[in-house]
Amino acid sequence: MADKVKVGFLLLGGCAGCEMAVVDLSEKLVDVLQHIEVVFWAPTAADVKYTDLESMEDGFIDVAFIDGMVRLDEHIHMANVMRKKAKTVIAFGVCAALGGTAGMGSLHDKNDLFEKAFKNTPTTDNPDGVFPQPQCLVDGKYDLTLPAYEDKVRTLNQIIDVDYYIGGCPPHHDHVAAAVTALLTGNMPPKGSWITNGKAVCDVCERNPAGKENGQGRAMVNQILRTIEGEPDKEICLLQQGYLCFGPITQGDCGGLCLKVNIPCRGCGGPIPGNHDYGAQALSTIGSIIKNEEITHQLMEKYPNLAKFFYRYALPSGTLPRRM
């Protein structure tokens, strides 16, 4: 028991999909469990409390996987506790690494979001307009508290020191397996790196026209289509058909899964190495393969909010990380 690697999982502001990816290791997980011991997994899988983590001695956990973005004061607190208790912290999944889709919430203020979430959605029944409060007195005697809502979404590395990053929404389980194997064998990149094969989605995509002998070659984007406007051809590169795809700038640890089911890449894998602002790079790349100004304007008409388009998974990690 003693020489097993102690692992902890902590979910912040996320959907627990990344933790499902761990469970999806299935038979591999059984093998892996001979080498690791899960000492903390909250608030999802294990029956442990936050106080259990707080009472561990510092550096007790060898590797901590933290998934989800940071939006509540509770997230900030728990991330800090986990940093103290763990020797290595991995930002697990795109939310922890770049902010994730929830990061787009930073383009709206708290009122907007609360009105939408707790009042204006068709399925919400809230005639009195009650919103969650950080503190509430029930029946005059029960003093209840909820975590307070921060004014913007943050990535994990904006709160604590992060050792490694793993992209994906969620990370593909084969990628998780590769990462865990690398961890157990000590075959890790320098601190601060993404754990990735370093290849772009295009590199692993079967549609990639480069180097193919079918005479297709690379061509500029000469029209803009959205997936709601029709079904793309299953063989041809989506970009060349006009469906904007972020494959060229996204890490392809997923094996190009979305492309296999005719869906363009939206960048959950995180930026390929050497790039610090995903959305700006997406804009740059798309801008350089669009045929002319007219098509650019077609794009701007069809996509009503470019910030949400280019920064789908990465807004809080951007140079301008929120609505200004």
């Binding site: 610090h276 959305g279 350089s288 669009i290 100004e293 470019l306 280019f310 140079t319 200004m324």
Partner: protein
């Protein structure tokens, strides 16, 4: 009191940078508000550079390139145009005033135009006031 805005200017070495040079030779007058950064081509300016300049407090950013058809690398400025149009929209979608971001075609022979662009841009920025993001200095 009007302030002197801080403009970060990315200037293509084949045209706008030469245009700025010519403005100097012509003794053209323009406000001392622009800090020029020479780039090989306006297409070299990553949108990230522009965002970074704003994040660090630049009041305005100017990208200067060659007129269409004049690009030393054939189509660099067409790419610039695609990007700057989208970038302006992106800034607006992020709640940042896109008037702070300007893209101009200034050839090596247009020293006067360079001076005029800087003068106009400076005046516009004076009306808009300082960059709301503050910056480091």
């Amino acid at each position: 009191m009007s302030f002197t805005p801080n403009i970060v200017g990315f200037a293509c070495q084949w045209c706008t940078y030469a245009g700025a040079d010519l403005a100097g030779n012509l003794r053209a007058k323009y406000p001392p508000s622009v800090k020029l950064i020479k780039v090989p081509c306006s297409g070299r300016v990553k949108p990230e550079y522009v965002l970074e300049a704003f994040a660090r407090g630049a009041d305005g950013v100017l990208v200067g390139g060659c007129h269409f058809g004049d690009c030393h690398y054939k189509d660099g400025n067409y790419k610039t145009k695609n990007r700057t149009d989208m970038l302006s929209q992106l800034l607006e979608d992020m709640g940042f005033d896109p008037r702070r971001f300007r893209q101009e075609w200034i050839s090596g022979a247009e020293g006067q135009k360079f001076a005029q662009v800087i003068t106009e841009f400076t005046e516009e920025l004076q009306e808009l006031g300082p960059n709301p993001l503050g910056g480091q200095e």
